[in-house]
Point group: C2
Chain length 280, copies 2
Amino acid sequence: MSAPDGRVVVSTDLLLEGRHFRRDWSGGYDVGRKAAAQNLSDVAAMGATPTSLVVGLGIPADLPLDWLDALTDGIRDECAAVGASVAGGDVTRCDLVVLGVTAMGDLGGRRPVKRSGAAPGQVVAVAGRLGYSAAGWALLEAGVPADSPALREAVAGHRRPCPPYAMGPLAAELGATAMLDVSDGLLQDLGHVAEASGVRIELDPTRFAVAEPVAAAAKELGTDPLEWVLAGGEDHAFAAVFPAGVRLPEAWRVVGRVCEGEGVAVDGWEPRQRGWDHFR
Amino acid sequence: MSAPDGRVVVSTDLLLEGRHFRRDWSGGYDVGRKAAAQNLSDVAAMGATPTSLVVGLGIPADLPLDWLDALTDGIRDECAAVGASVAGGDVTRCDLVVLGVTAMGDLGGRRPVKRSGAAPGQVVAVAGRLGYSAAGWALLEAGVPADSPALREAVAGHRRPCPPYAMGPLAAELGATAMLDVSDGLLQDLGHVAEASGVRIELDPTRFAVAEPVAAAAKELGTDPLEWVLAGGEDHAFAAVFPAGVRLPEAWRVVGRVCEGEGVAVDGWEPRQRGWDHFR
């Protein structure tokens, strides 16, 4: 692997069958794309360009070879989509499918954007999808047939995220003071920014456009779509803090501001659930 | 993480409770040291100096906190022993303890030493321990009490390898044409070198000094210690191929030579077992 500028960022995650994916809900190809995406997006959300990825793979003896082939195809294709390559791996036998994925990225001479740089007076913006994965998961969990294009897109969004990779290095160049990818839910992840930066973040719920697939799923299930947008995880949208007055490209939507204080508040909205608990 | 020279090597492994370690045989601290060591040694055996490590950790809800603390202490201490640092990690719940460990290293301007550079006429040398882990495992498996210093050292060698880290970059500087760390057993791992290089490797069994702990365990169990030396895995000794006539420091012992042909042969010795099968 090459690291021309001498600064590398790295991200690692463990994905477990039954906890992070179900083989009856997701094919090998989708699992591969999702496994790669969640680490590549973490690297990009530090402002780096993903360069390579390694995978430690645990597989049951009776895993169909087709599923394994599809998995590795999915990993490779997600890497290729961002110009990264699969640099190696390790295979071992396990009772369930386990993936240990590590992605690396090149900062191109910049400092990594961390969670700790937000300051009062700055603005909070998001890029990418919010609520798709939670909506799709809710449809699958409820056993509701995805019989419209919108519902199918929500389910597809659960199976495979679509991180706004290019927005990471771009935000770094635009002067982002803090950034992360939304893996556990916007409120919970912005809570990490608030805590690391010693600030309070206030979000304006009217600034969030609820996408059609999320709205359609909420209507189908009779629930509040904003809950999925604000607290749903695994879409790997990017959330960043920028200096006030920054001119942002359309892909970044300003949704809140940074104040003195602590925690994350949404004006006039009370969440029932604050994101995904790693230990549920 | 810093990569001053612009070339980075990376190694990843998945360690599973029950397959790669047993909590009744190894404490958290030993598991941590071993998990870190097996990836740090892989990096060093490419000729690089290990710089950093990331860990994806799956833990059961009822895992004692002391065990987890000891595990992270072990990982940190093994890294510190080679001047590397723990750069981050990820924790998730799992029914068994799973570690996905990825280590990175800096090549200091050199090319990585791969498995494919061996050529006829060159010599094969090893550095570090061979047979300790297999001997210790056999003692534990047989339930033989480790009631002498030699037997205790064999068991300790199973719980925690002692890779000759510094020998990796040194071998690279001395012109090693192929190198790896012995994770699956010397014969099996040299088989990878023979295959990747398109050569035959012939070992002289009289060149191997059987260490006292390995000899003592073999005597206790009435078995051939050379089997553990040649086919036992997990000691993370380094095996390398050097140009003929190279002057090697004492830590490297010449044990064979590279010829035309294929495969690995041991003069006058027939192994019952060719190393550890990943899929046993």
